[in-house]
């Protein structure tokens, strides 16, 4: 089947296989420049790129990844910095810095003003140097367990709220082990805001609880600093340092990649959702959750062939379906004949707004708005699902390739293009998925046509690459060059789309139907 982009995209590019990991695909963009001269918006894009060549893409942000050891070192450095100014020992300085959420200028200012008050507020008052101890108190009754045994040990901080040692211990254990608290544990008394200090924890907690307390205390450093965020991957110990602030999230989507490989948004912690801004992403997910009942029928992964009505299950990520029985070719998304898609792909990514007339009347209106939502949801869900299918297919293909390797004499390096193609597909589908949430809230104007063209071009490139994956393994070797070319091309299309949407956000050129601040 002939696609219009086949003409645009010359396949005479050659690159060595080992260049084709996800990162180095970025560098290929430069080599491909000359091939896109007849595409108007590409020209525009390249023009912008030429103006200031060394500049990084608008959709990328600067960041660094920090390990646990690096985080501890950073804290140590800051404690060292400040302790000389305050003339306080290391432990006390660390407590003061934590109390001031690591805002050292504020700490120093306040300390210079009134050191006694600062020390008292942070729990380092005059009695800090006395070791806290347990006491037996005659006639005491504990308000937690209601015990009044005269022989039992009791404890209170300087606020004077006294409980038996066992209850205090249980209280701390629950706060630290179950609730994950450390630096902000308050006195057990309702309404008393006295913070439980580390000496109290050391006196009362078991070694296991104490160790966890230390760990959590170290972790609060990241929670307290607005430029730091934990990688959200389960068990991942890395944090990311990035200067983008919460107040800027309507203008930029700060996507970062952790050392563990997870690509996520520094602004909200969600998996990569470019080009959809954080606020829209959240609204979209909420909407999908609220409307999941109505949208459910879409997620059924079987459909009937529009021609012969035999049931077809989608088994690959590609939207080009061929009915096994009657050989009818159609598009999985819109169920229209595939033949119409070569030149008229529009039908598949652009929702034609219903005419004003039809929308009159409350019922027609709500039906039109549901239809509109389903249009975008359908495409969003489809890319989500296809990404999984593409991945499954890759895993199967990889196994076949291993056998192909031995029979055809291709080296391990030579089959790496498959992995590069799979990675690119996953990434592009992730981007495409979020273009539909973006489009759902996008207000129509002249700029949106460029966006929709970019979306369509990327979608078309992705489906072509995805289709190559569905070939039987013995034919894969023959289409290696095509796959390498198309892998580079989808990356290129993705960058064009992201660059355009990121520039639009930065310049506040996009108008949305909802507030994104």
């Amino acid at each position: 089947m002939a696609m219009s982009s086949d003409e645009e995209y010359g396949s005479d590019q050659m690159m060595s296989d080992d260049e084709l990991d996800a990162d180095s695909l970025g560098e290929l963009a430069g080599n491909l420049d000359s091939d896109y001269d007849n595409d108007a918006d590409d020209d525009q894009f390249l023009e912008n790129m030429r103006d200031d060549k060394p500049q990084k893409p608008a959709y990328e942000v600067d960041y660094t990844t920090l390990s646990d050891a690096e985080l501890r070192n950073k804290q140590k450095e800051q404690v060292e910095d400040v302790r000389h100014i305050l003339g306080q020992p290391v432990e006390q300085t660390a407590i003061l810095l934590r109390y001031f959420k690591w805002q050292k200028e504020r700490l120093i200012d306040k300390y210079m003003d009134d050191p006694d008050k600062v020390l008292e507020d942070a729990g380092l008052g005059a009695e800090w140097n006395d070791d806290p101890k347990l006491e037996k108190v005659r006639g005491f009754s504990c308000d937690i367990c209601c015990d009044d045994d005269a022989e039992m040990n009791t404890y209170s901080m300087r606020c004077g709220h006294r409980y038996c040692a066992d209850c205090y211990k249980q209280y701390l254990e629950n706060k630290i082990m179950s609730e994950g608290e450390s630096g902000r544990i308050q006195c057990p008394t309702d309404g008393c805001s006295r913070i439980v200090d580390s000496k109290t924890v050391r006196l009362l907690a078991s070694p296991k609880v104490l160790a966890r307390y230390g760990e959590l205390l170290n972790r609060t450093y990241v929670d307290d600093k607005p430029n730091l965020r934990w990688c959200p991957a389960p068990e991942c110990e890395f944090a990311v340092d990035c200067a983008v602030r919460q107040t800027e999230l309507h203008k930029i989507i700060p996507t970062v990649v952790c050392n563990c490989g997870l690509r996520f948004c520094f602004g909200c912690g969600h998996n990569d959702h470019q080009p959809c801004p954080c606020a829209l992403m959240k609204k979209w997910l909420k909407k999908c959750e609220d409307d999941s009942e109505t949208a459910n029928w879409i997620s059924a992964h079987t459909k009937e062939c529009p021609k012969c009505v035999s049931t077809i299950e989608k088994n690959g990520g590609c939207n080009h379906m061929t009915c096994r029985k009657c050989k009818h070719e159609f598009c999985w998304v819109c169920m229209g004949p595939w033949s119409e898609h070569g030149t008229n792909w529009y039908n598949c990514n652009r929702f034609e707004e219903k005419s004003g007339e039809e929308a009159r009347g409350q019922q027609a209106k709500s039906r039109a708005s549901l239809e509109r939502y389903l249009h975008y949801y359908n495409r969003y869900a489809n890319h989500d699902h296809s990404a999984k299918l593409d991945k499954d297919l890759y895993v199967k293909t990889e196994k076949k390739m291993t056998s192909l390797q031995s029979s055809s004499g291709m080296s391990w390096i030579e089959v790496q293009y498959l992995e590069a193609a799979s990675t690119a597909l996953q990434q592009c589908r992730q981007t495409l998925k979020w273009t539909y949430a973006f489009a759902f809230y996008l207000q129509r104007n002249n700029d949106t046509y460029i966006f929709e063209d970019n979306q369509r071009d990327l979608e078309m490139a992705v489906e072509q690459l995805s289709e190559l994956f569905e070939k039987p393994a013995d034919q894969l070797a023959a289409s290696r060059k095509e796959m390498v070319d198309k892998t580079a091309y989808v990356g290129h299309r993705r960058r064009i789309l992201l660059e355009d949407t990121a520039n639009g956000l930065r310049d506040e050129r996009w108008q949305f139907t909802t507030d994104i601040r």
Partner: protein, 155 residues
């Protein structure tokens, strides 16, 4: 049930038998970790005057370090009170009842009842929380799994 929680609950029970604050009544306890209480609003608030409401308490092994699970339940002559922070399935959105938030181990069954009583007394809105229907539809979740956002400082 842990001896720790059991001991505390036995003490509370003994105190209850000596008397409770006005408008608060002990109904029954099928076992130690499960109590039912009735409450009435003392003033003439037209939303609740003359009505009695039933509260269901469930205690974990870690009570009173952990908050109890407290919900309103229906019974003959016992409705779920109308309140912008009480869902129609009886779930109460109150930070006091959340271990991570406002709970203090010094609280007791009686003090919880008193807090809920005053939450009703102060209310003038004859309405359910926003999204009540959708929330109640999602049945089968434990109250502990639900994370409320305490965005209203007036309750």
């Amino acid at each position: 049930m842990s001896t720790f929680a059991a001991k505390r609950l036995q003490k509370e029970m003994a105190k209850i038998h000596q008397g409770l604050a006005p408008g608060i009544f002990f109904v029954n306890s099928p076992n130690l970790q499960h109590w039912q209480m009735d409450i009435q609003v003392l003033d003439s608030n037209p939303l609740y005057a003359g009505k009695t409401f039933r509260l269901n308490f469930r205690f974990s092994n870690n009570y009173p370090i952990e908050a109890p699970e407290v919900t309103f339940i229906r019974a003959p002559d016992r409705e779920i009170p109308m309140h912008p922070h009480i869902y129609s399935n009886g779930i109460i959105c109150l930070d006091l009842l959340s271990s991570g938030n406002g709970w203090s181990p010094v609280q007791s069954v009686e003090s919880v009842c008193m807090s809920i009583q005053s939450m009703l007394t102060g209310n003038t809105k004859n309405e359910r929380p926003e999204g009540d229907e959708a929330f109640v539809l999602r049945e089968g979740r434990s109250v502990r799994d639900i994370r409320f956002v305490y965005d209203d400082p007036t309750v």
